[in-house]
Symmetry: C2
């Protein structure tokens, strides 16, 4: 089955202590869409400016990502610039130019409105609502978010939580949302806000699913070198939703394995700047790392 | 088979934002010995002063811990006092009175010298060497350590690493020892210093084993409330070694499951001050949490 992904489509200029990479393809929807494309057909909803490089449209094309819902408007593409510290854990934003993103109104082509799997990747909650309003009877809807929306659009986000099946956020966002230090108590509090499935991402420590059948402790794939973690969280949830869409059937029966596939897809993302490593990855590479993770967790 | 454990035997006065508990039974050897006692017969090597409460000797007795190697000397028992911050992650030492520990020279009773499993719990590396000198052909020797010894006894510690089979330390100690941020690169560097098995503890994120058959990613048992994490690391390695001693046979075949048992034993330790929760734990409680962890990690 296919998956619809809405989120940001951006150009990322990323600095690390050892390298500088201007205007890479980035944004939550780009990372999630490429990750999901390893498993299922993807329909992308987003907006870019007239300056958006043709090579990035070709990249979407190579991943068979349907761009009928990608608006190309007069003006500039959303441009984000950030700098990582040596340990790759702390980053600071150097620049944010919203460009055409400032007035983005997602419009779903009629054929997209019946997509069964929907990923509301990180984007303003109002836009996530707007996409959901246009979707007819989705099978499974998951939303991601970021600290910014907890600060400036908390009401919209809390309303969204009542409309979705799964919610993905990282541990510091979970603490901010629930005012609770303990991640397992935070999970409980987030369930009360609506979602049946809650996933808290822990970076290199993996992620935790809380659902009707209890917890799943999902490991991260061990990496000896992290080149650029930008988009890893988006890749995780993109891979997860892509795998669920490909599997079809019961979400409950498939979601753990879907998380493992998402986790492995995110590991490739971390090994190169932007999407450079992910786009060189083959499905066989993903399967191999999944088998390795199986071997590393058995007891 | 039985296990010999040397380490500190102390009185711990522990402050948290909500409670104050003076003169609890503590020390690396006490925590490790009680944890190991759930699985195998334990021989404790340590020293206490004449002020050591009789009730704590009785506690060792209830856990069938052999105290023939526990010296009771004129003077005061090692007393440590510490205070935890609200999130239970940061603690500061308020007071350290070494007492009889200052001149501790571990002497192994003749019958102890052929114990097959040896745990050199956290204690000065010189004392760990001294115990190892008295042991005849051990089957499996594991050492734990702390940041203090990396600062003041690094040479002794590095020499010890060439004499042991397994080494256990936490992630910040691994970073300090190897000057390497990435935990998987650090593991590689520590292997080069000697030990065949290296385990890096990650607190609530579990632990990682690196051995001849690759990595094992060991989860921590999910806790909704951490009352006092003092001794959790010692309980982990105590439970691990106790389970290995009970299993006998090939270390390679048993070490992963041993880590899971260690991890679960440590989870009980965190749920009470000092050893108060651990000593109320039954073997059935441990088995139940191990089964739960199995269910939470399967995919």
């Amino acid at each position: 089955m296919s998956i619809l992904i809405v989120g940001s489509t951006a150009l990322d200029s990323i600095k690390t202590p050892t390298a500088e990479n201007p205007r890479l393809l980035g944004g939550s929807a780009s990372h999630a869409a490429v990750a999901a494309s390893f498993f299922a057909p993807v329909k992308l909803i987003g907006v870019v400016g007239e300056d958006f490089p043709k090579k990035y449209l070709q990249l979407y094309g190579r991943h068979k990502i349907d761009v009928a819902g990608l608006q190309i408007l007069p003006g500039k593409t959303f441009h984000w610039s950030g700098e990582y510290e040596l340990n790759m854990n702390n980053r600071r934003t150097l620049l944010t130019e919203l460009g055409v993103f400032e007035t983005f109104t997602p419009v779903l082509p009629p054929l997209h409105q019946a997509t069964p799997y929907v990923l509301l990747a990180n984007i303003a909650p109002a836009l996530q609502h707007h996409v959901l309003d246009q979707i007819k009877r989705p099978k499974f809807v998951v939303a991601d978010t970021m600290d910014l929306w907890l600060n400036v659009a908390l009401n919209d986000l809390v309303k969204l939580l009542k409309r979705i099946d799964g919610f993905v956020l990282n541990d510091s966002e979970a603490r901010q949302l629930t005012r609770e230090d303990n991640v397992f108590v935070a999970l409980q509090k987030i369930h009360k806000l609506g979602p049946k499935y809650v996933i808290i991402k822990l970076g290199s420590h993996g992620s935790i699913l809380s659902g009707p059948k209890g917890y799943f402790l999902c490991p991260a794939y061990p990496l000896r070198k992290v080149v650029d973690p930008t988009g890893a969280g988006d890749s995780f949830v993109g891979g997860l939703m892509g795998w669920l869409a490909a599997a079809g059937g019961s979400v409950e029966a498939n979601i753990r394995r879907a998380m493992i596939y998402g986790s492995v897809t995110a590991s490739f993302c971390c090994e190169g700047f932007g999407l450079t490593r992910t786009t060189k990855t083959k499905r066989d590479d993903i399967n191999r790392r999944v088998r390795e993770l199986e071997a590393m967790t058995k007891f």
